[in-house]
Symmetry: C2
Subunit: 316 residues, 2 copies
């Protein structure tokens, strides 16, 4: 009888979960809010109630090999979520233990971007690659690094926090970490909005964005304005791509990957962001790395990719 795995992706806002077969098909899936629970136990109770509905539909826990979980600051070695600035729970959360006790199934946890990298390697753009870096460009910036065919976990399980690397010393402050000038402060959906507001506030350049109430300007509005030819919005993407491109050059000079795979909301801006990103990456690479590192956009369906990535942990 075929067996399945469950994948759970815990995001800052929502949690996605589903049942995956060994060909990488998401058979069933559902979502719930990550927020609004009294504590982590209340969160796990709701997750249990909702995920068990899916598990029962495919034949019960006997058919499930285990549950793979991706979460920000998830530590594969300890099974704990550690000091995640974007999640509701403070300190160190023993997630694997709590879930195993509740589900009576093996549970494997890792960083959400590491899970996505495993997903890309198992089902996506990185199939067959032994050296690549996955960068997620969403509300924040996450990363999963594969070298010699293995995820880099580091001595403590926490490697791959490239969104927090400093690219502009003394630059823009990050509201979660309070560090200055990190990649995430610029090359995220949040960063794009801040960059737009900075130009709107500090210059008198004409822009269609000035017709939108300031608190309604989101990265989608900036994207739409840029697509319609708005110069300020185009400048925002050029600037974002420049910062991202320099950072990617730095990552290449670290682990010399065959490809960098970009994933998440910001990639929908297409060449608006990819063109300057490629240009500035190449311009900052030393000769030996030039014109050989691919920048690819993930082709996994976004709603499935996180679940696939998390579930792939259980096939490892």
């Amino acid at each position: 009888m075929d067996s399945f795995v469950a994948g759970v992706d815990i995001g800052g806002t929502g949690t996605k979960f589903g049942i995956v077969d060994n060909l990488g098909n998401v058979l069933l899936s559902d979502t719930m809010s990550t927020k609004g629970h009294a504590d982590i136990n209340a969160y796990i109770n709701e997750l249990h109630d909702k995920l068990m509905i899916l598990i029962d539909k495919v034949g019960g826990v006997g058919r499930i090999k285990g549950i793979g979980v991706g979460a920000p600051n998830g530590n594969v070695y300890t099974g704990t979520i550690e000091y995640a600035p974007n999640l509701p729970w403070r300190g160190i959360i023993p997630l694997t233990k709590l879930m195993q006790d509740k589900f009576k199934l093996p549970v494997r946890l890792t960083n959400d971007a590491n899970a996505a990298a495993v997903g890309e390697m198992t089902y996506g753009a990185a199939k067959g690659m032994k050296d690549f870096i996955l960068i997620t460009l969403g509300t924040g910036v996450g990363s999963g690094i594969v070298a010699n065919g293995e995820l880099i976990y580091g001595h403590d399980g926490m490697a791959g926090e490239l969104g927090h690397t400093i690219i502009i010393p003394d630059g823009r402050i990050h509201p979660g970490t309070l560090k200055k000038g990190s990649l995430e402060s610029y090359a995220s959906a949040t960063g794009v909005v801040i960059s737009a507001l900075e130009i709107l506030n500090n210059t008198d350049k004409p822009s269609s964005l000035r017709n939108i109430p300031i608190d309604k300007i989101d990265s989608k509005a900036v994207f739409e304005a840029a697509t319609a030819g708005d110069e300020v919005a185009k400048e925002v993407f050029e600037y974002t791509g420049r910062i991202l491109g320099i950072s990617l050059a730095n990552f290449v000079m670290f682990s010399s990957p065959e490809a960098i795979i970009l994933f998440g909301g910001l990639t929908k801006a297409g060449d608006l962001i990819l063109k300057p990103t490629r240009e500035h990456m190449e311009a900052n690479l030393i000769e030996v790395f030039q014109n050989k590192i691919k920048i690819l956009v993930s082709h996994l369906k976004e709603s499935d990719a996180a679940i696939l990535g998390a579930s792939a942990l259980m096939w490892e």
Copy 2:
């Protein structure tokens, strides 16, 4: 009968080579200039003449397992030196093949800093570690990265060029690569001198360095002035340590090493550079990495370390 390995370290200025036993003792060693040869063949002829004298002293080629070579931009996969900005030979040099033909011995080549990392792991401060980064702070800045107990070579053998990562976008130009704001432009012996000259030229701060002819100011002079309490010289090391510290924070957030091992001339400045480096590394790390990454100074004898590192390639 015991066998030995030969280690060759090709630097921008000088080449060091020696015979090493399996306990890591450098039995015999010698040096020659890397410069001043008509071409790479003339260089290898001189190296052959001088290294064979040592090989003959330990019993001839029959006692030698092989020759390990460390060189800037040395590629372990192809055995070639590729576009090394600090060496006299342009383009791609098939060093392994040329040396094997000449010596009739197995030859293994890697990047000089990778060789040093293998040396630290085999004989030095990184013994027993599975995740660490070696940074060489000499005329330039090199690096060797070990994760999961293995050197990170990348898809093309060229990983670990951390000296060329950009830390100040649009910053100081690097005369070799023409890139702006790379770590090597600041945290090298050359960078320290430029930082000193910048302060001397751009301010009227009093300094004992003003008594030295400008073309005679080297990193040693800046170090001696700082040790004697000179405020400008101390500012130079504080600034250098700040740039290095932010960069080390970035490297930690990439591979989360147990330790960063510093090696080379600049480490002789001791706490003058180590204190600001540690401070600024910690200040730029997100919480999960704070107060757990060691910064260690290599305790291998510098003249031996490069030879040991290169030779250790042959024991792998």
